[in-house]
């Protein structure tokens, strides 16, 4: 349904041209929820903004690669054509719903506009549909809400309104960029619940961008792990957690304290820091922080390839997995000794 190939997106800044996303390839199937997980500067948002062709409005530029949606190439579409697709086929929700809503129009007006953009309904019909949508996203007192302005709503309510607007066109693909990051935990739980329902009931494909591996685990069929502008690994969600095939994925999973883990112990860490866009290492971007890195890793960039039934970008998958097995059997031994 969506096929991204070798996407390179860059930004013009003070320090010249930087590549925020550098050669990214993945696909999303019909009805599938795919999460892009990454830390700051990994390029996860830039990837989603590229698919929507929104990077151009922020000094960015898709330099090369292809984005194919239902067999149509998006990178060469005119702005006018893109606007049509954004209105009807692909919808997006953002982290901060206040900036995405227009402060001077009521919630009702904004939803009605979205509905009438691609459905020939009169005002009354569109208003009824708007109310239906607000009910669907679980907003209390939808009739009242229609008459309110964005600033009169809480963050969680605004996010629901954004989702209602995104759903107005009955999109086939929903892109959600950190949809719960700005929300409180109990409100986050509500929105995740809503997304879960949409996933199950609406047969929609969802591309979820998040820094929270827990959110990804809860919602996604497949997970894409990004680091410093590149994809490190793509896997079925369950398999990823069972056995990461990339040293970075492993480091990322382990450094998050588990709700059932041993308390008070030192956590496994990934030493060092995430490189800035203007100081990307040659070769594998993760090499400076990787315990498996060799000379080759520092010199040559590993392609994202199918290895051991997994899409992974690492020169030393075999060595990594071997050491994992070793580790694992050592753990088993020590249990037996006890």
């Amino acid at each position: 349904m969506l096929k991204v190939e070798n996407l390179v997106t860059g930004y013009r800044g003070k320090e010249g041209f930087v590549r925020a996303v550098d050669g990214v390839s993945f696909d999303i199937k019909k009805g599938e929820t795919v999460c892009i997980v990454g830390e700051s500067g990994s390029g996860k948002s830039v990837t989603s903004m590229s698919v929507m062709r929104l990077v151009e409005f922020e000094n960015g530029e898709i330099i090369s690669g292809s984005i194919e949606y239902m067999g149509e190439e998006l990178t060469t579409k005119s702005n006018e054509e893109m606007r049509k697709i954004r209105g009807a086929e692909i919808s997006m929700i953002f982290q901060e719903p206040l900036t995405a809503l227009n402060p001077v129009f009521t919630v009702g007006k904004q939803i009605v506009e979205a509905i009438r953009y691609h459905q020939p309904l009169n005002k009354k019909q569109a208003m009824d549909r708007a109310q239906e949508l607000l009910e669907m996203v679980g907003l209390s007192e939808p009739k009242t809400r229609l008459k309110q302005y964005p600033h009169e709503l809480s963050g969680g309510m605004r996010q629901r309104v954004m989702i209602a607007i995104a759903l107005a066109s009955e999109p086939k693909l929903l892109i959600a960029d950190e949809p719960t990051t700005a929300l409180d935990v109990t409100i986050e739980a509500q929105i995740l619940d809503l997304l879960r329902k949409l996933r199950e009931e609406e047969e929609m494909s969802i591309m979820l961008v998040t820094h929270d591996i827990g959110v990804a685990a809860e919602l996604s069929h497949r997970i894409i792990i990004m680091y410093a502008g590149k994809i490190m690994e793509i896997a079925e969600s369950k398999e990823l957690f069972e056995q990461p095939h990339h040293p970075y994925t492993k480091g990322l999973l382990e450094s998050v304290p588990k709700m059932s883990g041993e308390r008070g112990e030192l956590l496994p860490t990934i030493e060092g820091t995430i490189p800035g866009l203007d100081q990307m290492p040659e070769g594998c971007r993760f090499a400076p922080r990787c315990e498996f890195a060799t000379k080759k890793c520092h010199e040559e960039n590993p392609p994202l390839e199918s290895k051991r039934g997994r899409q992974v970008a690492c020169w030393h998958v075999e060595e990594f997995l071997k050491s994992e097995e070793h580790h694992f059997s050592r753990k088993e031994d020590s249990i037996e000794v006890k």
């Binding site: 809480s154 409180d184 879960r196 827990g214 957690f241 304290p257 588990k258 956590l267 995430i274």
Partner: protein, 356 residues
């Protein structure tokens, strides 16, 4: 790691602490003054050497509580007892010497360091303010501190912007530790950091606590982080402390319905960990106009008429386990069981939630 240490005794006793703010708003012209109860009648003890975690949603009063305990803000009422004295009665001069014992680490590693000063100046200032060291001696001390928190001592002359977020947080920690305080309030020290850097700073805090015998009030909203680092955990809701106990007891056998619901929905990095989610409906009410009776009743699946009339007392419902609720969960009872069994209008209450 046993945390209930009556033998050690409390380092700090917080008694009926209140912090009210007067805010504009309300009334037809928005001129009527309203009282916002940011911290409302909170009592608990902090034991010597423990890490006490504090969780709750945005605006529930965690930071205000932390700041008021340190008297970085003046409480409206209550007591903070330290070494048998109520520090809220202290004079400016007494407070100044107390500052050495009590410090704070802030969330924002970008905003909390003055960009015009070098790291050496920022940390060294702590010694100068208190007349403890200057010149070469100061420099030596600061460099030792930098190494203690895992920074290169050669960065003494660097400016904050030359550091990454995680490194800046280390600088903030070094500054707080400079005077070898007994007690530290860490207000969301890792919330702004990426996970791979977050674990480094968590480890640093764990190590420092062990080595220096620090007592810490650790404020955070990430339940997994709080669980990992804390000996005991307090849960706040709308200005009130609703539950406090040792970490295992809070996480395995919560007594307050709010805590139980909160825990049931933590997104976990494990797709196998299928659990029974109880998603609370509605929003946190405004602290300027909280509900009558129990603050939580508008979202509570167990609420009855009584909850709207009587404020639940803060009491020790189990050994060492404090709760403010008229109908706390029994040991081992799940919130779902409680909803199903209690009250005759259970169905109506189920309706009030989204179960998954």
């Amino acid at each position: 790691m046993k945390s209930n240490k009556p033998d050690v005794g409390p380092l700090l006793e917080i008694k009926n602490l209140k912090k009210y703010f007067e805010i504009k708003g309300g009334g037809a012209l928005g001129r009527k003054k309203q009282i916002l109860k940011a911290v409302d009648d909170v009592s608990f003890e902090i034991y010597r050497g423990e890490t006490l975690g504090l969780v709750g949603e945005s605006g529930c009063g965690k930071s205000t509580l932390g700041r008021n305990i340190l008297r970085l803000q003046d409480p409206t009422a209550g007591e903070v007892v330290y070494g048998q004295e109520n520090i809220l009665d202290y004079s400016k001069k007494q407070m100044r010497s107390l500052r050495k014992d009590m410090q704070i680490i802030y969330q924002d590693p970008f905003g909390s360091l003055n960009p015009r000063f070098t790291i050496g100046q920022i940390i060294g200032e702590m010694y100068e303010i208190h007349g403890l060291a200057k010149g070469a001696e100061k420099e030596t001390k600061v460099k030792e501190l930098l190494e203690l928190v895992g920074l290169d001592a050669n960065r003494y002359h660097s400016y904050p912007h030359e550091f990454s977020g995680g490194q800046r947080q280390r600088v903030g920690i070094a500054r707080a530790l400079a005077l070898q305080p007994e007690f530290i309030v860490a207000d969301e020290p890792v919330s702004a950091l990426d996970v791979s850097v977050q674990s480094q700073v968590i480890n640093l805090l764990i190590q420092l606590k062990k080595e220096m015998g620090l007592t810490m009030l650790f404020i955070a909203h990430g339940l997994n982080v709080v669980r990992h680092i804390s000996d005991r955990v307090g849960v706040m809701y709308l200005g009130k402390l609703v539950e406090l106990s040792d970490t295992d007891s809070i996480f395995n056998e919560p007594a307050h319905p709010y805590t139980a619901a909160l825990l049931s929905t933590v997104p976990e990095a494990d797709p196998e960990a299928r659990k029974e989610r109880i998603v609370l409906k509605g929003e946190v009410p405004s602290p300027a106009s909280p509900p009558s009776g129990c603050n939580f009743r508008t979202r509570c699946p167990l609420a009855t008429e009584r909850c709207s009339q009587e404020v639940p007392q803060w009491q020790e419902t189990r050994n060492g386990h404090f709760t403010a609720c008229h109908y706390p969960l029994e040991k081992g009872e799940t919130l779902r069981d409680a909803i199903a069994q209690r009250g005759n209008d259970a169905d109506k209450k189920m309706n009030n939630l989204i179960m998954a």
